[in-house]
Subunit: 487 residues, 2 copies
């Protein structure tokens, strides 16, 4: 494709995206495609001769779009948001256009140094403790996801715990990790990946009301395991759990970890970015204590398109120690000088994209002010919804939501718990099938709840109000059908 | 950023990239930035108020570009190419604009099904055996890189070897991997990550001339380790090594692996895509035998921008067995039905971008014909260069290069080996500092060689001829300086 063709088709694609943004509400949020439908609409064999890009765009509309669930739709309330803002998309486009690969400092110094600066900016915006910034022993790095960040933290912790023995000899004795029942599943997956084993992931009690990890039980488990000869590697505390945005008591957990000399990783994948707002900066409580690594996702709620996770470590030595390998073909003067960072030593894979460009674009376009405004809007909309739910005698609300996630369900008066769960699931499926909104569910306190996560840039007051109206209507309809199955 | 603003700035960015493509030869290939220079040019603090996107583009030119090493420059011959073609960039832009996340089939069915179809197309273009296609027990998936693919293959192999015991209990006995001295360093890194340990990576002899893995030695090592009670997990054969594009004898290695019941992973990161050309389809030799997983990178030589690795497995059950975890908040009807693929179970992280769009765009724009033409051009240019090197009495060539990589060095008549190595390194540094071209080096047969990897879409006959002229001139100049240090 010549530069002139790129110019022409590039404009078409930009217009296609702008048009998509303008008409996104005309699509059903959740795709109605049935399994295999998109696949069957695509030719079984690749083309022998090249086609014009118009053909790609035409098939995008015809074949791909019916199979898209619209994460940027204002009625997308499922999972957590995955904000793809304009400046982020353009930053990503610049990265693709430059086509550089930042595995080493030498392979594009700006790719490394813009990342160092931008991640320090983010640390400042979130008011993280100074030791996480790049000018001391610590530093930050962009990872693909909170899953990747957790795995990397575990490997660094393992390296610190045994001086690199496991990396050299393999895991030869029992190593243990500590989570709660509310911790993200990626920690259990990382335990499998790292050869620690899911059976060695110890589940610390969490309070039945708060769903927050109990430091005393953690303390007891750590003592018990160490006494039994295991090597406790890492404790993962969560600020803003996936299920209900519960918050673990990081200060107290940090004290326990300090006492036992265990690495504390704080997973604030969703909620960490809320610290851009001074009034929400309590999410950082405990980070100035004994915390070894901290992770949050600008690609969820901070207007940066997937993937862009930020991981900080208080000490980069064990991280690099765990992940560095230097074959002959990667040797170069800059690396040998020790004056530069090679981010390949901070991640699993060798190659890396220039992801800092999109985070840089986002921070510059919105400024601290704009980022705060975005988070505040999400929190305000969630509080509005929570107040409507709390005021409705037909619904019950799970506690006061601190961020953008509201968990609730109809009371389904008179139904036993199991049937109420099934009715709630049925309600969710009806709502999702309507195309007006997309919710997910979770279980808390043994009961099924609807999860409504607010935070897409396109979502405003009217969308949340409309969604609440639809939920009430559909719940009332469903209750009426149950009361009179024949109608 | 409103859709109208996105339209305006999007065009500016598209034009910026087209301009960059047009003027790329005016930049020095290798950045001349010194460590810390880009960092020092960036404000220490993030902006409080948002700025226009013009400011971002201005700083891109002023601060970032001097720190860029230009991977798309026609004089970029370092590492392997990382082709960022127009249709790939636009496919990636569409992915960013849609902003969907394909962790589950349900979170955007088209994201999964377009990937299934496109990766099957690629399998057909490469003429891979039918068992790697998605309609049987196997299937393909896009990974971030060959590093990620190798790690995933190891985890699947581990799962098959012990029925999931290591995933549950952790690694409790000695597990071994088999590579050669020419295997990519990501295998050793994966061994550290997976808890197997770098000391349990067994290095099989490779022939001194061919640098190809010796099946008989592999056989002996496997027998020895099994007899000593270790669990051999995986053998990695390489088609087109990073150092010199050496090719391991996959058919013979496959027979050894079959005899020992060990997983064979074939890493064809760079060279695998050459199979789009029937005359290069010998790179697939042995894939119809006992091969369990196969990986190649469209993001190197097949016109698709980083990241886009293709991994195929002959049996997806151990892969999913090793990597599947299903927390409540990810449960959904489609997953429960068993009718769909959830690619999160085929990779380390949970979240995933819609990378199939760029591979789909590339295959449709170029067609099989265009892809073949691109690979053939690289091979032809490399053969031209090799013939010039071979014909020059002042240079020596490492064997006949089968793909786009040519390894060679001046003879440095009269210099002992150590000094010749230093002189070759010095020559490389002088050439790289000139800004005209960018080469890397490797060691083969104990001697330092220049690596010149041809395959950027912008590289044509004139660029290779000019590079060869510069290399000869610079080598002659350096030899003259040595002969007369005072001049």
């Amino acid at each position: 494709m010549t530069p002139e063709e790129f110019r022409r088709y590039g404009r078409q694609v930009v217009d296609w995206i702008a048009d998509y943004q303008e008409k996104i509400e005309s699509y059903p949020v959740l795709s109605r495609a049935r399994p295999g439908e998109v696949l069957a609409s695509l030719p079984a064999h690749p083309p022998e001769r090249g086609e014009g890009f118009e053909a790609v765009l035409a098939d995008l509309d015809r074949v791909v779009m019916p199979g898209i669930t619209h994460w940027q739709h204002p009625g997308f309330f499922a999972y957590f948001p995955a904000n793809a803002s304009g400046p982020a998309i353009l930053g990503d486009l610049l990265s693709a256009g430059l086509g550089v690969q930042g595995m080493l400092w030498a392979t594009s110094p700006a790719c490394t140094e813009l990342e160092t600066r931008t991640i320090d900016w983010l640390a400042e915006l979130l008011d993280l403790p100074a030791r996480f910034r790049g000018d001391g022993a610590g530093g930050g790095v962009i990872q693909d996801s909170a899953s990747g960040a957790a795995l990397v933290a575990i490997l660094a912790a393992l390296h610190r715990a045994d001086g690199g023995t496991a990396g050299r000899e393999g895991i030869t004795r029992r190593h243990t990790l500590y989570i709660s029942s509310q911790t993200h599943s990626s920690l259990e997956k990382a335990a499998k990946v790292a050869g620690i084993g899911s059976a060695n992931v110890r589940v610390v009690d969490s309070g039945p009301g708060t769903l927050a990890m109990a430091p005393a039980h953690l303390d007891a488990l750590l003592a018990e395991d160490a006494a039994a000869g295991a090597v406790p590697v890492l404790v993962c505390a969560t600020v803003g759990t996936t299920s209900t945005t519960a918050v673990d008591p990081v200060p107290e957990i940090g004290e326990v970890c300090a006492r036992h000399g265990v690495w504390l990783h704080v997973d604030a994948a969703y909620a960490g970015v809320a610290a851009v707002c001074p009034e929400l900066r309590w999410v950082n409580d405990g980070l100035d204590g004994h915390v070894d690594s901290y992770s949050t996702n600008p690609h969820k709620w901070l207007l940066t398109n997937f993937d862009c996770n930020a991981l900080w470590v208080a000490d980069r030595a064990p991280l690099v120690g765990a992940l560095s390998i230097l074959p002959e073909y990667l040797r170069n003067q800059a690396t040998s000088s020790g004056e530069v960072i090679d981010y390949r030593d901070w991640q699993i894979s060798l190659g890396r994209r220039f992801r800092a460009l999109k985070l840089w674009s986002v921070i510059r376009w919105y400024g601290a002010e704009g980022l705060r405004e975005h988070v505040r809007t999400g929190v305000r909309l969630a509080r509005d919804l929570a107040s409507w739910v709390a005021a409705d005698p037909g619904f019950e609300l799970l506690e006061h939501p601190p961020f953008g996630l509201v968990c609730f369900r109809p009371r389904w008066d008179g139904l036993p718990d199991g049937e109420a769960d099934a009715a709630t699931m049925r309600l969710m499926e009806r709502l999702n099938a309507s195309g007006d909104l997309y919710l997910t569910h979770t279980k808390a306190g043994g009961r099924v709840l609807l999860r409504m996560a607010i935070g897409a840039p396109a979502t405003g007051d009217a969308h949340v109000a409309a969604a609440w109206r639809r939920i009430r209507e559909e719940a009332a309809e469903q209750a009426a059908e149950r009361a009179d199955p024949g109608r």
